[in-house]
């Protein structure tokens, strides 16, 4: 079991779920409030399932690490409360995630392969949602410039050997990726916010 890779995947899903849940109440249409909320719940559910492969207590992994210990890709950390960039991220992430999850479905470890297959079934709906939005916004400057801007971040979601597949799927040239392992200030702020209630009581307190 490639624990570092799985931890990166789980952290991606966790943080993207956190970011997507921010649209609740303020999306461009009520239907999208509901859709983003559903997607966020799925992503966080996936993070939890992967954490449970890696540790006894998923909450401890999700909340009790220092910011620098998270392995999420910079793509998912970006604070993007505008719809063009949010949808561009969803579209790019879903394709990258599909490449990664499909590979994990062939993993030697049956638990990993089984979980990947389960996650893949739910992600199919996220891909349909992203594809629908890509079609609707494809001709808007907001979406096009956002895809250009986020492309090097999207490459950083995958390990180098899977990047060619991503570039081929999206018909783009590979560029220098924004790699995992560093975090921006927005992540520090998010981490502070997502742990503030939990940190307010001694470790082990029930919530």
């Amino acid at each position: 079991m490639n624990e570092l890779l799985l931890l990166g995947l789980a952290d991606d899903e966790l943080i993207l779920g956190w970011r997507d849940s921010e649209w609740t109440g303020i999306a461009p249409m009520l239907e999208e409030d509901v859709a983003f909320s559903s997607i966020a719940q799925n992503e966080i559910g996936h993070a939890r399932a992967v954490y449970e492969l890696l540790a006894d207590d998923a909450d401890v992994l999700a909340f009790d690490r220092k910011p620098e210990e998270y392995r999420c890709a910079p793509l998912v950390e970006l604070h993007l409360l505008d719809w063009g960039r949010t949808i561009a991220r969803r579209c790019l992430y879903e394709v990258a995630d599909e490449i990664r999850i499909t590979a994990l479905m062939e993993d030697d470890d049956a638990r990993v392969a089984g979980l990947a297959a389960k996650i893949n079934r739910e992600e199919a709906y996220h891909r349909m949602h992203a594809e629908m939005w890509r079609e609707r916004l494809a001709d808007t400057p907001q979406f096009r410039s956002a895809v250009d801007e986020l492309w090097r971040y999207a490459l950083g979601v995958l390990p180098p050997k899977q990047r060619e597949a991503l570039a081929a799927r999206l018909g783009r040239e590979q560029v220098d990726a924004v790699e995992r392992g560093t975090h921006d200030d927005a992540f520090a702020a998010l981490h502070d916010e997502m742990t503030m209630v939990r940190r307010s009581a001694p470790a082990g307190a029930q919530w």
Partner: protein
Amino acid sequence: MAAVEISRDEQAFLEYVQGGGQVETSDWLPADYRAKLVKFIEMHGNSELMGVLPEREWILRAPTLQRKLALTAKVQDEVGHAQLIYRVVEDLGKSREQCLADLVSGKSKFHNVFHYPTRTWGDVGVIAWLVDAAAIISQKALLKCSYAPYARIMKKICWEESFHILHGRDVILAMVTGTPAQFELVQEALNRWWGPLMQFHGNPIPAEDDPMFLWRIKSQGNEEARQQFLDGYVPQILELGLTVPDPQLRKRDDGVWEYTEPDWAELKSVVTGHGPCTAQRLAFRAHFIDQEQWVRDAVLAA
């Protein structure tokens, strides 16, 4: 479907609904009835939508994955309710876009409890438990609404709201059985929310003088709803070791609750747009409506 042919006479219509009759979108509706329906149902839709904002920021602060998922799902339900309710309003002739425009301009109203700040995780529990409990009492009474399309969606809404109450009670239970500081968060939140909760069902005007009751849009009076709330929840609050911040609160021998007169001036001021968070929340919602206008334009053009 209406059980009898409704005459175009308003008096006959009134007698029909007062006798428990229900009407459909395609039936003839007196102009005053239609206007009252739109006003009432639109305010309900607005409240579901604005009710998202007090909890929204705490979705990011939920202290466990389970709480995060439950709170996200709960708030998602509220938006789903707004969507359903605005559809009923649309069938009555007012578009969702117009409802949202009137909401953010302050022309239409939303419930008093959604004008207040959410200060701690204790407030999150009190909102999900007691605000939703107060709301479900009003909503259950709408199952008998004379306007059948509204009554029908209320079944789904009540069913989902009853889950929210369980979620809220569970959040509260974990905290009152936790550390003294956690218990205190709940007590402080209860102290903050008690006033708005007691105002929630409105001032005790006799049901017969309430136009919403006259048309049987509502099927119970304000005081009846408040008594039901007190009867259902004061014993539960006390059972958890919490104190209700009203020294005059007591149940009389005849079963009626006595309490300190709620601050009706505060209620009036809050629902007319002068609550502590009214301006900020409407501005926040308006900001995103403006910012994302291009998205709706792009979708319509596609």
